[in-house]
Symmetry: C2
Subunit: 70 residues, 2 copies
């Protein structure tokens, strides 16, 4: 199993968390999504690694941004 952690910005409340979890949960291969509102940390569970671009796109679809590690 793979767990990949991202930082999502722009979430302000539990509704935002729900939106992100729904969109990312729909990415093929994703088996689970945990999001912490306070820190913005999102853990994506999957059987095999998933292209970061797909996760980033799903977060954007929900209306938020993934911080790209610099």
């Amino acid at each position: 199993m793979t767990i990949t952690t991202y930082t999502v910005t722009g979430m302000t409340c539990g509704h935002c968390v729900t939106s992100v979890k729904e969109e990312v949960g729909e990415v093929p291969g994703v088996t689970g999504v945990d999001v912490d509102l306070a820190t913005g940390l999102m853990s994506v569970h999957s059987e095999n690694p998933i292209d970061t671009a797909q996760i980033t796109a799903a977060v954007a679809e929900a209306g938020y941004d993934v911080v790209t590690p610099s």
Copy 2:
């Protein structure tokens, strides 16, 4: 037609606005609800005046508070 204005606190994003509009819109007699996120101002439209307690309860159901004029 009656338009009554309230101030709602605790809303942080558009999802919150949607939740408030949905709950208040379900109060019997309400014909329309406008909510401004930035100011918290909510205008409730109805044919006849509606008990404030019903509106306050609907806002609370959504998870927010109505400021009671002091």
